[in-house]
């Protein structure tokens, strides 16, 4: 009986000792590590969302931008413009590059169409994508381009429009909405059709 009376004390001590040895489930260190992990995941997620930001859609608002024109290719004598400056006009925004072979297929068409519509409230704006200025100028001279042209400084405009390559053409209506997006060299029929449609509205 005496043994029985002493054992309960011994088991309580053992349980206490075991409780002292096993670490708690959530320690400050683990909590800090978890917070750090979540912060890192949030950072990665934010970067992913930003990098996959969707390009503008037809019927949606055209992303705002600022252009600084090449000398000799200004618009109404201004050296720089924003999209808001073109409000009320149809803007044919064309991304191109001197190294782009397919851009050459549409270069004459764009210039001819600009000359045909320039007095009807239609503005053509060329944006040179990752192109060096001497080459861009050579291209513009080669195709006798007269409509406003600008480099895509820091790639901001092409990023805002999420272009997949060159050439790409965005037709923006008088209200600043993207009316039509064309990937690749645009055809005469498509270009005239789209501009005429907007002019009739």
């Amino acid at each position: 009986m005496a043994e029985i009376s002493t054992n309960p004390n011994a088991t309580t001590d053992e349980a206490q000792a075991a409780a002292d040895v096993s670490p708690p489930l959530v320690t400050p260190l683990r909590a800090a590590a978890l917070v750090g992990l979540f912060a890192l995941l949030a950072l990665l997620g934010w970067g992913l969302v930003n990098s996959n930001r969707s390009r503008p859609i037809e019927g949606g608002p055209a992303p705002r931008f600022t252009v600084q024109y090449y000398d000799g290719y200004e618009w109404q004598g201004k050296t720089s413009s924003t999209l808001d400056d073109f409000a009320g006009q149809i803007v044919v925004l064309n991304f191109w590059a001197s190294w782009c072979v397919e851009c050459r297929y549409e270069a004459d068409l764009l210039e001819d169409t600009w000359r045909a519509y320039r007095d009807k409230g239609v503005l053509f704006l060329g944006v040179a994508y990752v192109d060096v200025e001497p080459k861009s100028r050579g291209y513009l001279t080669e195709f006798n381009v007269t409509y406003p042209n600008a480099p895509d400084l820091r790639g901001l405009i092409s990023k805002a429009y999420g272009i997949t390559g060159v050439p790409e053409t965005f037709i923006i209506d008088q209200q600043g909405q993207v009316a039509y997006i064309h990937i690749g060299p645009i055809t005469e029929q498509t270009l005239y059709q789209q501009i005429d449609r907007l002019l009739q509205n």
Binding site: A17, A33, L40, L43, V130, D131, V132, L153, L156
Partner: protein, 166 residues
């Protein structure tokens, strides 16, 4: 006195002229190695993860020509890299500029390394502590010498009769 002034001016010109000549070279004098020394710190803007010095596209060729031209004009490597970053965005640089949000690229790995090292060291320390602490309870919890108090009177009697302890 005048002679010394002319001599001084002549010496100054002799020192400055080679620098001026070096600053403005013809494009043809710039070697491919000099161009590539700058180009390898830039990335092709139209292809995936291809350094400019080994990129075969027309875009990269145009960029290398521009680097050659700027080197001929006497621009330094940092000036040329700044030009490309300003015109085409910092993403064309092989090494992001250490400012703004880009700092995370430099800071996060170091912080993670330190954090990981800290956690590892702390875990090792805890393991070591647990290793030295565990045998101790085992030693203290060794069964106590068995004593039976009911036998004590008999044991005392035997010991008394045998004369043990007297």
């Amino acid at each position: 006195m005048k002679v010394w002034v002319y001599l001084g001016l002549g010496l100054l010109l002799a020192l400055l002229l080679p620098g001026a000549v070096l600053a403005q070279r013809s494009v043809g004098d710039v070697t491919a190695d000099e161009v590539n020394a700058v180009a390898r710190d830039l990335f092709c803007p139209t292809c995936e993860s291809t350094p400019l010095d080994v990129c075969p596209t027309q875009t990269c060729q145009d960029w290398r020509d521009l680097i050659r031209q700027q080197l001929a004009e006497g621009k330094s490597k940092p000036e040329i890299l700044d030009y490309f970053a300003a015109n085409f965005g910092p993403q064309v640089l092989s090494e992001p500029p250490r400012q703004g949000f880009n700092l995370t690229v430099w800071v996060v790995p170091v912080v993670l390394l330190l954090l990981g090292g800290g956690i590892f060291s702390f875990s090792l320390y805890r393991l070591k502590q647990a290793g030295t602490a565990l045998p101790a309870p085992a030693a203290t919890q060794s069964p106590p010498p068995k004593t039976n108090t009911t036998l004590d009177p008999y044991r005392e009697q035997i010991e008394r009769e045998l004369g043990v302890g007297e």
